[in-house]
């Protein structure tokens, strides 16, 4: 990553952190309903990988912990927050919610709430890319626990035999909901599971964005050059529970403190300060500006937007006026 980009990315990651923390507050205030899965602690994963790719050109999808992947792909944070507030100005008009953020115009192909569901969908997008002959790739971010669903294995096998341009990013945060990985998973190192499919893979520190970026560059180049799928495992940690309904009682305080010392934003900030790319004062200034922007711009927009109109209730169930439903245009 170029030094000039690092300062921008630091700001983006800090924005992601503050955005998610503000979501937490809005949930407590009951402005956000349903389930809410937050990303603090894992910011270097989405930012490092997508810096190495071409968001808006490449297709991106993920599971339900999806706000930040959407924003990094180009979806407006206002539209994401308004979606969480279930307003018609939300990116999915208030029909999706936190787990279903979409931004098709930015090729952010969605957040899905079945943990392994996106595996084959991403392979299918990659199949479509191949049929249409573009140089795009599809990048699919999923958690480690998704790898214990059947479609993981089915998809890896197909991605390999058909040489699909798909990059799977395993954000390994060590817990599947509340169960630690070594209690749920026979092979704890997820990248090793790729040996069963002859798919190239790597495992790197997901808290250091420079490391993530370098590993992702190799992965993206591999996939874009037509060599088939790649699997990149990023070792990371979520600071909050799986979702807001999670008491987080299953993790040792020592473990949380250990990971807290490896905060992805602080790692990048301190490295930049040391290199003279940013000062602490600039960083603090950046932080206050972000907090103000979220409050004055984004939250205000979400608050002031109106609820979806009743006509949206059944608008998108089936295609509107599809002529083939009547046997063609007669």
């Amino acid at each position: 990553m170029k030094p000039a980009d690092k300062k921008r990315v630091l700001k983006e990651m800090l924005f992601a952190r503050r955005f998610e923390e503000r979501c937490y507050e809005a949930y407590v205030e009951r402005k956000i309903g349903g389930f809410l899965h937050l990303y603090p602690g894992e910011e270097a994963c989405a930012h490092g990988v997508l810096e190495a790719a071409r968001p808006g050109h490449d297709y991106v999808m993920t599971s339900y912990r999806d706000h930040i992947h959407a924003i990094k792909s180009g979806v407006s944070p206002k539209a994401v927050m308004a979606e969480l507030f279930s307003k018609e100005t939300g990116c999915c008009k208030g029909l999706g919610g936190s787990m279903h953020i979409f931004g098709a115009e930015h090729r952010f192909m969605g957040g899905y709430a079945l943990v392994g569901g996106p595996f084959p969908l991403a392979a299918g997008i990659a199949k479509g890319i191949k049929l249409k002959g573009g140089d795009e790739i599809c990048i699919c971010f999923l958690g480690d626990a998704a790898n214990n669903q059947g479609v993981f294995h089915e998809t890896m096998n197909m991605a390999k035999i058909w040489d699909l341009p798909v990059l799977y990013i395993c954000e390994n945060n060590l817990y599947g909901i509340g169960t630690r990985i070594d209690r749920s998973t026979a092979v704890v190192d997820q990248y090793k599971r790729m040996s069963g499919y002859d798919i190239p893979s790597a495992q790197v520190d997901g808290q250091d964005i420079d490391i993530v970026y370098d590993a992702a560059k190799i992965a993206v180049d591999h996939v874009r050059s037509g060599k088939g799928p790649y699997f990149l495992e990023l070792m990371t940690y979520r600071y909050r529970g799986h979702s807001m309904s999670d008491s987080n009682a299953y993790r040792a305080k020592e473990e949380e403190q250990m990971w807290g010392k490896r905060d992805p934003i602080i790692i990048l900030r301190d490295r930049l300060i040391e290199a003279g790319g940013v000062t602490l004062e600039e960083y603090e200034q950046m932080d206050s500006e972000i907090i103000a922007e979220i409050e004055d711009d984004i939250i205000k927009f979400a608050e002031e937007s109106h609820e979806p109109s009743a006509e949206l209730l059944d608008k998108y169930v089936l295609a509107e006026n599809d002529p083939w439903v009547r046997g063609g245009a007669k």
Binding site: G96, F102, T155, W324, G327, G328
Partner: protein, 327 residues
């Protein structure tokens, strides 16, 4: 008008649509090199190649998801699931994603896929290869379900389903692929909603779909020739949505309804048609509607017991006579 077998009609629809649009592909187990278990894709591998006629591993959930994902960016996959019993494995992708993606994305994405799969009880295939599961698919908002009873419908429904922007599940039948029927020589499209009057009548309406249309037609002949009863047969080729207007029109004419289904009775086509009759035209009825359904059992292997589990034309005749107070 050419006479084609049901599989030939399906094959013709595949071929025409794949010629028209390079983004129409087909995928499934043994559909390419092997030519398809029921030959619906016979010869297409040689004509269109392995990138568009895709032999999949035996991974129904996985390859159905692959088809759905491809459809997000303009591909039109026709997915063959070799037996509807295996389609259970694809339900997550079909129900959780294909049926819901337009809705939960606020209209941004859609999944214009076709899934074809034969259900039905054939000959001694046992409990896990004899399911009739159209009832499961027809209860899902966002998913269309059609079921052809003859070659013309098989051709015309697949043609329209490929072009429709909704996901469409086509429920076929293992016993019907070699059934012959006339198909128009020119290009022909069936509507994906509605019903057809398979036989006009005035005394009672027999509602059938897929194979049970043939039981209804055979029963109508017996009723006419032996009992002087003129039965109307309605072919419910669209199971989701069901044709409320067509059901109402026929019952309002005959004032009696018998619904014939190959599946077990609970939560099925029969119960749904009865509900529609109640809602739309209850006061037109001269007698309570009746269902003729399968026994509520897994399908046994033994041929004699297997036949006992599934209705026949005679069961339909008996139900009509009982309804009319003639037996």
């Amino acid at each position: 008008m050419a006479e084609l077998m049901y599989w030939e009609a399906l094959r013709r629809a595949h071929d025409e649509e794949m010629t028209r649009d390079p983004l129409v592909i087909c995928m499934g187990e043994d559909i390419g090199v092997a030519g398809g278990t029921y030959k619906a894709t016979n010869g297409l591998y040689d004509k269109y190649g392995p990138e568009r006629v895709i032999d999949t591993p035996i991974s129904e959930g996985g390859y159905t998801g692959v088809g759905i994902g491809a459809s997000f960016i303009g591909v039109r996959p026709i997915i063959e699931i070799m037996s509807v019993n295996f389609a259970w494995l694809a339900m997550d992708q079909l129900f959780n994603t294909a049926a819901k993606v337009r809705y939960m994305s606020g209209g941004q994405l859609e999944a214009p896929i076709v899934v074809r799969s034969p259900g039905g009880t054939a000959h001694q295939l046992g409990a896990q290869h004899s399911a009739r599961m159209e009832k499961v698919f027809m209860g899902i908002a966002g998913l269309r379900v059609v079921t052809p009873s003859n070659s013309r419908q098989a051709y015309g429904l697949l043609k329209s389903a490929v072009r429709c922007n909704d996901p469409v599940f086509i429920n076929e039948h293992e016993l019907m692929y070699n059934m012959k029927g006339e198909v128009p020589d020119e290009e022909y499209f069936m509507p994906l909603e509605g019903s057809e009057v398979a036989r006009e009548g005035s005394d009672v309406t027999l509602f059938g779909y897929n194979i049970s249309v043939h039981w209804c037609l055979a029963a109508a002949e017996i009723l006419a020739s032996k009992h002087g009863i003129n039965a109307e047969v309605i072919d419910l080729f669209s199971l989701s949505p069901l044709d409320r207007d067509g059901i109402k029109a026929s019952v309002s004419k005959t004032h009696r309804a018998v619904i014939v289904e190959e599946a077990e009775p609970a939560v099925g086509v029969g119960s749904e048609v009865m509900a529609i009759i109640n809602e739309e035209c209850f006061f037109e009825l001269d007698a309570p509607p009746v269902r003729v359904s399968a026994e509520n059992v897994p399908i046994p292997y033994n041929h004699k017991l297997e036949k006992m589990a599934i209705p026949t034309a005679q069961h339909v005749v008996d139900a009509v006579l009982k309804q009319l107070g003639l037996s």
